[in-house]
Symmetry: D2
Subunit: 366 residues, 4 copies
């Protein structure tokens, strides 16, 4: 399978560099008969769009998506959906001076070694610009999940630098410029981000995503455990260096009597496992958290070498986000949606004939 | 791709239930001419073997592996290597009373819903017994990594329940029964594990694994980022619910000026990124950490329901590990080795013709 | 995906050499709840078994298959089904003299170049012995196709050397030792095969396979056209060098007015396309034909070189089939069954929600 | 893997309908550093282009390809190459009257059943227009094969309807409007095609493709035999219903003494096997032949039903090729090139460390 393809049955293949002509995406295995429109995709893209929050980059990229195939008279036809976003806001000259330089914390070094050649304009393929297509494809996955299985996905930022919250509130996050779960902390966040900007620095973030109404039975038990495919999906997002399912690392310090999610006739009594048991969804809410590293593109000079091996100081100019996590919520939601739809279709393929009745509250029902 | 297959080029396909006739594994895409023997595989298996530590289960399973194909006159032939381990120590009667019961924290519930049928003996396919074959296949991957690329893999436990260490010392871990990085904490660990046993409880753990001498250039930049494939590999291990690459979640609270790994002519000055930049190995040590949940198989009664929906209390008899993390180090090493070898072969496929000279210390060399 | 794995969702992974310890197979993605037994698999294996016809090799290999996982209390559990056949009838000494020789028409030469090493005993992995596991896995696919979709598969030999028939009669073929579609030609075939044996020679064959009751809608339109996946499946059988779907090569000389299968309210009026239109099954019978080359293992000396490059004459001793096609019918059926089940599950994954009513004879029905 | 993706390592994913906005293609796994230009791709596309021969459709589609990513400063960067061809010559009104009709011999019927919905304009995704992107991607594969391995691919038509030739002459084919191997038959072909047009009919064709300088060692021995992957590749082309490797079906009637390609110190003495032994290339020329059915889009009325089940007569208007084979040579070459490059990279992945010296003529060399 190609390295730029995600998924086994519902597959997303992307291409495009930050400052190339366009980004493109081919979504294959799309269930037929699902209503899809450019407006639906655009709405999600606008959540991720540079310039959408005044606490992100001041770059303004319209990111207008065009559907070129696979949708006819408003519904998917079962053939691959092609998407294209033309690049318009490139200011390649910002990058001429990094042509022969490895920006610390960036992929400049590893790409150059790996391929022997590098499109240095704006990070090329390594730019987070690539994630625009994940969001567009994720919007298609969300529509399929909703129409076929009544499943929805949500997300919010729960930590920005040292400021964090134990809350989860996706609705509240939609209404504040930090996409933050606890709006009462927004003044504090504003102050913190402004300080970072003044100090030419950046910070990391934590995002939590959840899926609602996922039925029990999605996912596979061994290498493709639902925990594992979600982990790959989320860890493949630029800047992500940690993934937790359910209580994640906190589980290491818990006892078995505390961590096991006990069951009553009405259902599970807790959700330490994040809705996944033995790699298969339990019918509870799916919960995952990711850690994003601080933006490496900062104005503070950094020590590095050039392609000739000479030691230099690098300043990354351009217009960058002080905290990439703020705009990454729709990306994380998209990757969760892609993973779940793939799991749903895989489950339907193998187990479509299995009769599944709820195991809960049968006595009451009887 | 099958759900019980790991990898794209160097692939591992496994089958077998805890109390079935045997476990089997087919390792495909094996580079030819590599020296492999049953002894090499057995040595790794013995590290994971139940009964190998007195702080694990008292079950003793010999786990004798047989190579049935793909090796001729001591070397791999390029054809698939078949492995088989006969099951011998099954005490299925231990499980007769859980036939119609969902043990909390186990896959009993999700398997039953998903498949409509369940091999209830010892957890069936959901048992960690499945991981024996990962270790055996991992031993083959380790041999290939070493012979072809001089790469090695190591690991140790860094936290057991609330007792943790910032140290990393794989050699020390090999010499103590907790596989723990800091042997000075062993008396404390012994006391803690004994208490858990007395209280019919269990605890979680954290394991760190590293890869040494990995050259720059392995991994792919987008969906198959090396961080992402390692995350899937490690998160697919039973009981794992969290994965970090490099500093992981701690990066969320760092600043860009702290986190970016700066570069000098002699090489990188730090390794917050765990040896992976932009999804591609940087030539530094690869570092990953995983969180394992506490064993769910404990003697303390847990609330649950039976397959008819009646509320019951469940006691999981059998002979279980109070902390599954202790024996999981070779499993995590195996999954890291499998991932790296796959990445190495994928890189050789696409970029085998790229000339790679070290970018460091050229002046000295010149 | 591994090179020794067939299929995308219902996958078959095999290993094992002709004279190694055992053959093994892992069948993954098996729908749960399907009745499977060793007897069912053995019955199919016995059709392929060396020694099953006096017009084949006099070698007698019992080929006893053991199910080691994935079946519990008589039904599939949804976990991978492991199969093993121990090798017992190896007479490796037959092959000692070909250790350093390339038998013409065999893979000896290409394996040696490719891998730099070769298991020379009986052709090793290149031996048709490998196909035993295809037949066993095919028996599982046949059971799934029958129970879930009421689809069956059949086949017969339609040409042996220069003797051919336009008939297709799978039932008749089961009752004669040549598996031939037209039993009236058996005396002629017997004479021909006896002559070949006396002359230390061999011949090729043509086999036709069909699938019955396949509903319209299986297969994918572009690279995974059902014609294409069937072609790969059948062409992957040892000795096969040609595949036709429907009228195949004869279509090149037909006119459009003759070849297009016209439609009436009662259904299609002809089946030149072999039941596949635009890569998708049409609801008609699936029909495919394969050409097998003559056995290369013959007693007549052949010109070749040894591994040092010296010119030599090679005689292939051992006990070989004068026409490998005779025993290949169950192999071809198996590959067709595997392909169809994979297509069925893929279709269920993507289109499981599409309501499909017959387009034929609605007026009568109305 | 997506159904609209071809290949395992060098992958081609396409989308686009005949009368949609555009065709697109993402080529992944491209070796870096290969010189690619739009001109190179356009040159191949122009060979397939409608309107390129007066014996094809009079439709004129410019088929102008744009490279949107993956190429920087003239060479591939190792990131996916995106291609787009805007549709311009659509005359959708030609198809309004087939909206509710199943044209016999077309995919109209099977798409409608499979997906429950159909883009009826010009065959939608089922149109051979889809193959334009195969040709463009094939041009990239050809460039990689040539630069990295010095391998080239060629092809020619060897039969049109009842007129055939035993010759193979790709250079001659390039110089005549039938792409025919034997130019002396062109007057006869012209007469035949003109008759077909007058009679509102069409005919099938046979194409042969070859690969030159392929080293021994490409391909895998079992399910991914090189014969098998070539068969899938070629059989996935619209209208193809038969594939032969080497002597193909003629081998069924040969004897072992005739068919085995004997070997001398100077090399193989014949090439009945089409350059593939045991699924692996032998170092000889790769040879494959395909049969294409007659065009179903003809002006002669055909019997069919409409989507309500009523019996009707259908005339396919529009501007169609009387013989689709004539323009299909570059498509077949492209599919062979894609298959071979994928095999080459797969072989480099697994066996890149195997030292391969020629086994032929060592004595002379010595």
């Amino acid at each position: 399978m190609g390295m730029n393809t995600f998924g086994e049955l519902f597959t997303v293949t992307t291409c495009g560099e930050s400052h190339g002509r366009a980004l493109a995406c081919i979504v294959d295995g799309v269930p037929p008969g699902i209503r899809i429109s450019e407006e639906m995709l655009q709405k999600e893209l606008d959540r991720r769009r540079p310039g959408s929050t005044r606490f992100g980059t001041p770059r303004s990229e319209p990111d207008t998506v065009e559907i070129i195939s696979g949708v006819f008279e408003g519904v998917t036809t079962g053939t691959p959906v092609g998407l294209i976003i033309r690049n318009t806001a490139q200011r390649s000259q910002d990058y001429a001076d990094i042509k022969n330089v490895f920006r610390p914390g960036h992929a400049d070094f590893t790409y150059t070694v790996k391929y022997g050649v590098r499109d240095y304009r704006g990070g090329g393929r390594a730019s987070a610009r690539e994630t625009a297509m994940r969001v567009a494809a994720g919007a298609i996955a969300k529509a399929c999940l909703k129409e076929l299985f009544n499943v929805t996905v949500s997300g919010c930022v729960t930590a920005i630098g040292p400021i964090s919250t134990p809350r989860y509130d996706a609705a509240a996050a939609l209404a504040n410029p930090f996409n933050f779960a606890d709006p009462s902390l927004c003044p504090k966040l504003e102050e913190y981000i402004n300080t970072l900007r003044e100090e030419h620095d950046s910070c990391g973030a934590i995002i939590e995503v959840r899926a609602h109404n996922v039925p029990a039975g999605w996912g596979s038990p061994v290498f493709d455990r639902l925990d594992a495919t979600i982990a790959q999906a989320l860890m493949s997002i630029n800047a992500v260096k940690g993934v937790e399912i359910g209580d994640g690392f906190a589980l290491a310090a818990l006892r078995g009597t505390e961590a096991r999610d006990e069951i009553r006739a009405a259902g599970f009594m807790s959700n330490h496992m994040g809705g996944i048991l033995g790699g298969v969804s339990s019918g509870q809410e799916i919960r995952a958290r990711i850690a994003l590293k601080p933006t490496s593109s900062i104005l503070s000079p950094g020590k590095s070498i050039d392609t000739e091996g000479h030691e230099i100081d690098v300043v990354t100019r351009g217009r960058h986000d002080p905290c990439v996590g703020i705009r990454a919520v729709p990306i994380a939601e998209a990757m969760l949606a892609l993973t779940l739809l793939d799991a749903a279709l895989t489950d339907r393929a193998q187990c479509g004939h299995v009769v599944r009745e709820s195991l809960f509250d049968r006595k009451q029902a009887g």
